[in-house]
């Protein structure tokens, strides 16, 4: 246990500055998103916004998207620094020649992510949205999304040796997933309309599956350092995710 906290302290010392910047950006992004949601109203339709307010709403919306992209990029950078500093890919990492087991390293990194990324992100979201929008504006699904995003970023980081490779693998996985989703929605036409597509992202089961697959791939990588096998595990999650995502579209047909 001491070793876990010892590594955690080292990691915190390493990423503390970038973490502070991320906290600021996280708060800003959440505030802008909450403001944008408030201005757009429950329906989130620009057509219902009074003409004189449209420019302001558009500007806030644009800033919210920009801040969200920057926040995600910085979040990925923090995860990359954290994981790649004690890389589990290749055979040159410093920790490999030290009395540190893969399981303790995993425990330390997971604890660090939970305490410094997931928990603050949840808290910021809860606080900012309750302030701007209302007490019950943050759903369980929003909180689950924070956990899933951290797990996905960690998975990408443990399968790669650098931030650039991590972004590349993330791009490939996102590309495959989006292509699969488009293909399935094309197959299911006319069952899929805008409302159905919106429902996709509020269904919790596929995201729980993503979490489970990420967990298995991360554990396998830390405990065995067999990167090819862990990558296959991570990619196996994509078709399962797509099937769960699109299961409602085909229920009628089946």
């Amino acid at each position: 246990m001491n070793l876990i906290f010892h590594i955690l302290r080292k990691d915190f010392h390493h990423v503390r500055l970038i973490l502070c910047v991320w906290y600021l950006l996280l708060t800003l992004a959440a505030a802008l998103q909450a403001k944008s949601d408030l201005l757009l109203g429950e329906d989130a339709e620009l057509s219902k916004v009074p003409v004189q307010d449209k420019e302001v709403v558009m500007a806030v919306f644009f800033l919210a998207v920009l801040a969200a992209v920057l926040e995600l990029s910085l979040r990925a950078t923090v995860v990359s620094k954290l994981i790649h500093d004690d890389s589990v890919v290749g055979s040159t990492a410093f920790w490999l020649s030290r009395p540190v087991s893969g399981s303790k390293l995993l425990a330390s990194k997971a604890l660090f992510l939970a305490l410094t990324l997931v928990l603050p992100a949840m808290l910021v979201r809860l606080l900012v949205f309750s302030q701007f929008v209302g007490a019950n504006s943050t759903s369980r699904h929003d909180l689950l999304a924070e956990v899933v995003s951290a797990a996905v970023l960690m998975t990408l980081a443990v399968l790669t040796p650098s931030l650039a490779r991590m972004a590349f693998l993330g791009g490939i996985m996102a590309g495959v997933t989006c292509s699969g989703l488009l293909f399935l929605s094309w197959l299911a036409i006319p069952a899929v309309d805008g409302q159905e597509l919106g429902r996709l992202f509020t269904d919790e089961l596929p995201w729980l599956l993503v979490l489970a697959v990420c967990g298995v791939a991360i554990c396998n990588q830390y405990l065995t350092r067999r990167t090819a096998r862990s990558t296959i595990m991570a990619f196996t999650g994509i078709p399962l995710f797509l099937l769960l995502m699109s299961r409602h579209w085909f229920q009628g047909a089946i």
Binding site: L3, H14, S97, R98, P99, S101
Partner: protein
């Protein structure tokens, strides 16, 4: 003498390339063992398999009496490893690196650590990423020796170091060897670097161990021989296998005898080549022996 490292038919394949092939070796406990071989011979791959950094494709190895695949924190706390390929946390200063490593080792020797810092002239507050290659090697050596490991594994530790730094590095190791009961395995492509250190030598070539012997034994059985054939004289068609790299210029013949014995060596040469003149037999340094062996292995291909 028991072995602290033992490998049996260790092999490692990278795609089509067989980097290490049926590598069987024993490193005697308490020895300073040099694993020598040209670049690309498979030294680093062997060491990475020993340290459980990569898995062997076949065969097995044991380190500190534990299967290399099962090396855990207990064993790693008894091994000091330095490699030119090792990543050091560049964002740390030397002081931070020491503070990070110290709690991992129950046997950490603060006095020895302070002595090594002084000896290597390491600036405590400077970040490692700003270090020269030599300084990085010294920082790596510092955190590999300060806990008095039973086994020190050095993989090409001298690459890129200037002569002065190399000398300091070797002197540091030699001084510690005088005071510490340990085994050192050092892999290098250049015996010059380790000649002062070693008492046991292994030669690896194209992934296979070609020789493993004490330095004293090697020095006693290798001789550089040179003689002149009598006018009209010729070398026998079949020379002994122990004569390596035979070459002649006119009537002058030279070769390396790899099975020399003080009491019978000269007589044996005279029996094989009767009527020879001006026979000279010279002792060889480890470097000369290594070069002769490497050239001989290349000639065999």
């Amino acid at each position: 003498m028991s072995a602290i490292i033992e490998t049996r038919e260790l092999s490692r394949r990278f795609g089509q390339n067989l980097a290490v092939n049926d590598f069987t070796m024993q490193v005697p406990r308490g020895s300073i063992f040099a694993l020598l071989g040209p670049n690309g011979a498979g030294k680093t791959t062997v060491i990475k398999m020993l340290m459980n950094m990569i898995r062997p494709s076949n065969g097995r190895a044991s380190v500190l009496d534990v299967d290399s695949l099962r090396l855990g924190p207990d064993e790693m706390s008894r091994i000091g490893y330095v490699s030119e390929n090792q990543d050091l946390p560049g964002w740390m200063s030397v002081q931070e690196l020491v503070d990070y490593c110290r709690p991992m080792y129950p046997s950490w020797d603060t006095d020895l650590c302070a002595q090594l810092i002084r000896q290597f002239d390491l600036p405590l507050a400077q970040k490692i990423h700003g270090f020269s290659r030599g300084m990085r090697s010294k920082a790596a050596l510092l955190v590999a020796l300060a806990y008095r490991p039973e086994l020190v594994v050095l993989d090409e530790p001298f690459n890129g170091l200037d002569l002065l730094v190399r000398d300091e590095f070797i002197r540091g190791l030699l001084e510690l060897s005088g005071r510490t009961e340990w085994t050192v395995l050092v892999a290098s492509h250049d015996i010059d670097e380790v000649e002062r250190l070693v008492d046991w030598v292994g030669v690896i070539d194209r992934g296979a161990l070609r020789l493993s012997e004490s330095a004293a034994s090697l020095e006693s059985r290798f001789r550089h021989c040179e003689f002149t054939l009598e006018p009209g004289g010729q070398l026998p068609a079949a020379l002994p296998e122990s004569w390596l790299l035979p070459a002649s210029v006119g009537q002058r013949v030279r070769f390396v005898e790899s099975a020399y014995r003080d009491e019978t060596g000269v007589g044996r040469v005279r029996r094989i080549v009767p009527g020879l003149m001006d026979l000279t037999v010279n002792r060889m340094s480890l470097k000369e022996i290594f070069v002769a062996l490497a050239r001989n292995y290349r000639a065999e291909v």
